[in-house]
Amino acid sequence: MDIIDKVISKLRPKARQGMAGIWLDEHKFVEAAGKVRQSGYTKFDAISPFPLHGIDDAMGIPFSYIPWVTLTFGLTGFSFGTWFTWWASSQDWAINIGGKPMWSLPAFIPIMFECTILLAALSSVGALLWICNLPMIDPPVIDPDLTSHKFGLFVPEDDTGYDAAKLEQLFRQLGAVEVKKAEF
């Protein structure tokens, strides 16, 4: 049972303390995220119930690199499919079927194609889970409405130039309806 406990403790995220602000309007929220970044914070995060236009630019989030994972594993799948059909049909146990060549490439294209798609798709999803640290067990939630109709900014304590009082003032200025100390 040790190993199960180990896995569970690994999946339980370590909560960070910090300041959180809640917004109701998405446009003010995106603007606020930009202003918080301009104030020098780098480790903060923005929580929203759906992906927001312009938040990546406002927060300086780089373009996702997952397509490279997809490409790499897609090519791996393609190579594997090519190699395996060749090896199994013409090397390991070559069987003459209908007088066709042992290495009948056109007939193997469907297999190669499906291997490509399968590995590309599963690796992309795997990469997503890996990057986002999912699955997580009982991650702290700032406000349950953040997955419904509210938008939240969270600045952790270890961010550069963290100052709770200043942050509260900044959040209020930028239109937050609620500001509180929170863990995330």
Partner: protein, 454 residues
């Protein structure tokens, strides 16, 4: 500027959207739902009984015999696989084309795909007659050599195509649902609901850094699913087209099958959406008449493609000058199974023409009836292809007839029980409309609303 019709009706806010969709999971259903699921369960019992008898006593319980070795199992397999294609088309292809109206139907269409593929997958396995040896279809290291599967066989391509399709569709469906499952988790007051949906949501919290990667993966999956869905029915058509049988051995099969699959799939989506709109009245604000009309337009367009393929097949049979080919097509339309050919033509080509009229495209009872006819017609298309080519081929001495038994009917009608049981459970247990995808399109077609300016 031409005003766009709103995609979501009623005066909704983000909060009411959440409530409308999640409340379905949070409350107990009414009597009509229980009646529906009782009916589905009854059909499912018939399926289990029929297939149980077939597995126990053997394939002789069904109508397949010499010369028609492919019967209900193969016809129904192709039928269900075809149904699945519309779901991927809506969720992936319309996503890549930035069709915003897809958002409120995508989740349910995708669920339909998953359940249809699950239902379809059973049939070839049961058709083998010894389903407990189904793993022989996979190239695994075994102690018989190892003896590998024949990679030149379309049946093996099918194993790869259908299992890849099932896997990728399920993953796509599930990943799309993760943010909505987190919404259910965060609203849950009940301890077990919080635990179960908490586990299903994988601990998703919707941070901007996560959304960034999430949207990328969603797009990648859509981009991968698009060629995948086209490949699957092409490969299903190879099961026929690679054989040298007249009526099967034609190059038109892959596009013809794909068009037919989308046609039948959209008909099934319309059938299901009409039912869902009745079962859950609040969904009428999300799945509007405009949505239904769009789908009816696609049904008509793909129906015309299918009709063109029927005509083209006949023309080529005559133009090629191959007497076997000519004979098989004359036999299809005017032979002993001619009735099935004319059912197919009536249901797939003639009846959908009513959608030229806008009033018919926007009338729920009419489209419901038409969609049922299309479903029937598309089952008969596969019947016509499978049975008529097999029952009379080159030598009149080896001709014969295929007569279905009660177990054929049990397997066919029972499969709807499996499909509808899964579907009805899904409607009540999982977010049936994509909450996170619907919210960004709330502003479409609404004037003076800040949400619309993208």
């Amino acid at each position: 500027m031409i005003r766009r019709a709103p995609l979501i009706l009623g005066s909704k806010t983000y909060e009411t959207i959440t409530k409308d969709i999640v409340s379905l999971v949070e409350s107990f259903p009414g009597p009509s739902y229980y009646m529906g699921i009782a009916g589905a369960q009854f059909l499912l019992l018939i399926f289990l009984f029929a297939q149980g008898m077939i597995v126990w006593f053997g394939m002789g319980m069904m109508g397949v015999n010499h010369p028609v070795g492919w019967g209900t199992d193969i016809i129904t397999f192709v039928f269900w696989i075809g149904i699945g294609h519309a779901g991927t088309l809506i969720s992936a292809v319309l996503f890549l084309f930035r069709q915003k109206w897809r958002t409120s139907i995508a989740r349910t269409a995708e669920a339909m795909t998953v359940f249809a593929v699950m239902t379809a997958g059973l049939f070839p396995i049961l058709h083998t007659g010894r389903p407990w040896l189904a793993y022989w279809l996979l190239p695994y290291p075994n102690q018989r050599g190892p003896l590998w599967v024949n990679f030149r066989s379309p049946l093996v391509w099918d194993v790869f195509a259908v299992s890849t399709y099932a896997t990728v569709s399920m993953v796509f469906w599930y990943i799309g649902m993760v943010p909505d499952l987190a919404t259910i988790r965060d609203r849950a007051k009940n301890k077990w609901r919080k635990r179960i949906y908490g586990a299903l949501s994988l601990g998703w919290r919707g941070t901007a850094r996560n959304w960034n990667h999430y949207e990328m993966v969603y797009m990648l999956l859509a981009g991968l699913s698009t060629p995948l869905v086209l490949s699957v029915h092409s490969i299903v058509s190879f099961d026929f087209a690679v054989a040298t049988l007249p009526g099967w051995h034609t190059t038109i099969f892959p596009p013809y099958f794909v068009a037919g699959a989308i046609f039948s799939g959209f008909a099934m989506v319309v059938t299901l959406m009409a039912i869902v709109r009745e079962l859950v009245p609040v969904f009428k604000d999300y799945i509007t008449i405009d949505h239904m009309e769009n789908m009816n337009k696609i049904i008509m367009a793909t129906g015309l493609m299918v009709g063109y393929a029927y005509g083209s097949e006949f023309f080529i049979a005559w133009y090629s000058g191959v007497e076997y080919e000519t004979f098989i097509f004359m036999n299809r339309a005017f032979g002993p199974y001619g009735w099935s050919y004319w059912i197919m033509v009536t249901c797939n080509v003639i009846i959908p023409q009513i959608f030229w009229f806008k009033a018919a495209r926007r009338n729920i009872p009419i489209m419901f009836v038409v969609s049922i006819f299309v479903n029937i017609g598309m089952w008969f298309e596969r019947f016509v292809i499978t049975i008529t080519s097999l029952h009379r081929d080159f030598l009149p001495s080896s001709w014969g007839m295929w007569i279905p038994t009660l177990y054929d009917f049990g397997a066919l009608f029972g499969s709807f029980g499996l499909f509808f049981t899964l579907f009805l459970l899904y409607i009540r247990l999982l977010p049936a409309i994509s909450i996170a995808e619907v919210k960004p399109v709330l502003g479409v077609g609404r004037e003076g609303d800040g949400h619309g300016h993208h």
